[in-house]
Structures are given as C-alpha cells and as structure tokens.
Amino acid sequence: MMQDNSENQTIDMMLNMGPQHPSTHGVFRMELRIDGEKIIDVKPHIGYLHRGSEKLSEGEQYHQVVTLFDRMDYLANFNNELVYCMAVERLLDIVPSRRTEYIRVILCELNRIASHLLYVGTIGLDAGAMTPALFSFIGRDRIQTLFESISGARMMHNYFKIGGLKEEVPTNFVSMVKDIMPEIRQDIDQAEKLLTFNEIFLSRTKDIGVITADQAIDYGLTGPCLRGSGVNYDVRKSEPYSVYSDFEFDVPVGLDGDCWDRHWVRIKEMDESLKIVEQAINNLPDGDVESSLGRRLIRPSAGEVYVKAENPRGEIGVYIVSDGTDKPYRLKVRPPSFCNLSAIEPLLQDSWIADSVVILGSLDIVLGEVDR
C-alpha cells in the first residue's frame, strides 16, 4: 500500500557509541542523537575506568603513590611521575640533584615522543589508514626498549623517586640515547610523510572539528588541543619547571583549531622534544641520583601545594593537602584529557558520524586519566 508522502516525517535516532568501540580509545561511551548521518546532539559518559586513584592515594604513603600516577596517563608514565615527585619535593622543600633533573627531562621528552607516535598511529586508524600505525609502533618500540633497559619495565616504570631516581642509569645510557636519536628522527619523518600532507588525510581532517581559541580556553583545553587553536601556552615556557629553562626549544602553534592543526602541532612537538633530548644528553652533568631523603619515611609538614607541568596531552596539575602525617590528606589531579574531552559536545554538534571518530582521535584522550 502506498503511503501518503505528506505524512512522512523523520525522527531522530539514538546511537550508542562505546564503551567497547575500537575508536573511542578505551572505555568511553557517547550517546549520539542523529538525523541520518548528522549528529544533532551528543551526551558523553565517562567513569568506566574510575578506580578512585585520588582516594586510594589517601591511604598510601607518599613514596607509594608514584605507582598510582603511572596508571593514570599510561602512555606518559614518566611525565606523570615527574609532576607528582615535583609536588612532594616542593612540599618537603628539597631540590633533586641536577643530574637527576636532566635524566628526568630526557626520559620525559622521550616519553612525549613515544606518546605522540602512538597518537599518529591511532589517528591514522581513525581516519582509515592502517600503515602509519604499523610504522609508528616501530619508533615507539625503540623508545620503550630504552625505557626497559633503564627502569626494567616498558610501561608503569616507577622509576622516579621523591628527591631522586630509583637507581643510577646504566653506564651506556648516553650512548644508548645517542644511538636511537637518528632512528627516532627517521621515524618522525616517516610518520609525517605518511600522514600529514596525505591528500586523503587532509580531506578527512582539514576544517573538521574546529574549536576557536576563546572556546578552547573556556573549556579548559590545554596542550596540543589548545595550541592547535592558535594559543601559545606551554607550561614549559610560561612557568618553567625542573630544568626546562636550560634548553632552547620552540612551541609549535596551529592556526585554525581543526583536527589537522592539532595533528600538525603534535608532529612538530616531537621535533622540539628531540631538540631538548639532544641538548640534555650533551650536557648531562655528573653526580648522584640518590634522593637526599635516603629510604626514610616521608612526613611533610602541614600545608598545601599546587604544581603543574606539561604532559603530552596538556597541563597536568597536582594539588596535595598534607596534614603532617606520612599519607596525603587529599590529593587531587587535574588531568588534561578530562578537560580536553569535556569539549566533545560543541565539537561533535552538527558533524558527521564518520568525522566524530576523527575528532575524538584528534583530542588524543587517555581514559585512565579521564576517569582516574
């Protein structure tokens, strides 16, 4: 029977994406209200990986909390360990040795490259390209093998201690780093050649998922997501911590705030990180990496501290309230991915379903950090 067309009308459909969706980068779920292929409205759901890390750390002694930080942003373990150690060091008013700081910076910047290389792989997969993932993992593996020889673990290193390092780096540390640097440079070039100016990739990312600078600041976006929108904000430059003021490097800044700009910023950031590693390894000071605290139990005096640092995903902040005991009274982490992800609603509105995957990939979230 023929229906009268004038009575036909479209209704919006609810589409559930995640939590077990390969392109949601972990256990993230979003409820999409769609009209055909167009997204009308989006409701994000997080918390599937909520382990209560902040609450757990209230029951752990200060030196035990480092392991919990490893498991927040599990792609940038060293960076997370660094910010926690810096916070407790400021609470205790101690300064680690220069050699410690230099080794920390080298490892953090290598970790940044490893994290961004993984990003190149995943954004490629999100945009429909399989090859970059295979190649970028080769580069990531080189760095992880180096990490393994230093800390004994490929991830979750637990290598930074409050006031120092767990142990001295291997004797061939400098030559190992110098050996892999040209290889990593090649990996970065290859990633760039495969993806950045690829015509298909450009058409999938250019002018997609645009967020203006004002909007980005309003949502608290930081890191490559904010710099992609043309805001020059990098904690390493604005409030230099550790020994970052010793090194010369640039902060790449995008123009339009679309997916491609966020991608480009990350690619250029890897070059800058490599610059920092090069300067640090050439000027690596001699000395001790043992913490001045020895193996004593730490009891900082009552007080509060708020420390921030630049992680691969943006600004991480750690707020510790100490009540004079050996455990933190309250520990709060400001995770960069949490804020970056909160901007998903305006980003996805009025975009296509196929683009939603690329937009989410360009934010480069880690759910371990979002949910804590």
């Binding site: 909520h50 309003d218 409030e239 708020y306 009274y329 709060k332 949490f338």
Partner: protein
C-alpha cells in the same frame, strides 16, 4: 588541621617575599567587595582568597573580567573534605597575564553553592565530579547526573567517613 584558614594565614608571615602578590589581590578585591569577609593567604605559590559562599559567583565574574587578572581559564577545581565542611579550591589562570589566582570557598554539607559553569564551561564537569565525590549541590547547574560514578551509586566516596576499605560492591 581542623581550622585550615589559620594554618594558611601563618604561611604568609613565613614567606614575606610573596606578599606583593597578596597585597595586589587585596587592593583589587577590597575596593570592589566592601563589607564582604575576605581572607587572603598563599596556597603554595598561588595568592588565594577565601570567600563566603554568597559572594563566590560575583567574585569569580570579577576575576574573569578584571584587566589585571583576566582569568579566562578555570584550571582546576578541587574539593577537600575537612569533616565539618567541604572546601573547594578554584585555580584560575590567565594565559595573557601568565598569572594564577586561587579562590577558596568553605561549604557546609547541608548548604548549596552557586555554580560557576555559566562563567567557565570547564566548571561543568568539575562540579559534577565534586558532586559525585562530596555530595555538594551546585545551584543553577543544569545536569547533576553522576559523572565518574555510575547511576544509583550510594554514598560519597570522597568524604573521609566513606568506608573505603570495607566497601563491597557485590
């Protein structure tokens, strides 16, 4: 530990070199908020003001629009349970001026506080998180559904009296 405000005001006298930041904040705020009971202190290296709940919203708007502070970004919001009351720390940051300001607010568990999600969009998820963990109600916030916890979770796990280690889900 019980009276946090006393503890932090002592810190100021311990660190006299940080006083200019406090006095700058003091002069900026006291002319605008006469008659409001403001308490200034340092949170680590951040000049902080403790503000009564009813003036919080106005003070946040002032700091966002003020030329000297220009706090366009809400960097962090942290709730701390001091058993009798909950303290919320707002870390405001200005990218143009490269300056950080802290705003603290003590809230009794039976009262409500006005939302800042209309001032900064970032406040939306932070407030939902604090509502999850501490049960603080934010007035004017449209959606207070659980963010980190699941629907139907009972209790507030951020609070000190939550039976964390005895907690059994099944």
């Amino acid at each position: 530990m019980a009276d946090k405000s006393d503890c932090t005001s002592e810190d100021v006298s311990d660190a006299p070199e940080l006083d200019p930041q406090i006095s700058k904040l003091k002069t900026a705020l006291e002319t605008e908020f006469t008659g409001v009971d403001l308490l200034f202190s340092m949170t680590d290296q951040i000049p902080t003001v403790l503000v009564p709940t009813e003036s919080l919203h106005d003070l946040c708007i002032f700091l966002k629009t003020n030329e000297d502070y220009d706090s366009k970004m809400l960097s962090c919001m942290a709730g701390v349970d001091y058993v009798d009351y909950c303290q919320i720390l707002y870390v405001l940051y200005s990218i143009n001026k490269n300056c950080t300001v802290g705003v603290k607010c003590n809230i009794n568990y039976d009262s409500r506080v006005q939302t800042v999600s209309d001032i900064w969009k970032a406040g939306d998820w932070y407030e939902r998180e604090i509502h999850d963990l501490y049960g603080i109600e934010f007035e004017g916030h449209g959606d207070m559904s659980p963010l980190l916890l699941y629907d139907g979770f009972e209790g507030y796990p951020g609070k000190k009296d939550f039976p964390f280690y005895d907690y059994q889900e099944y």
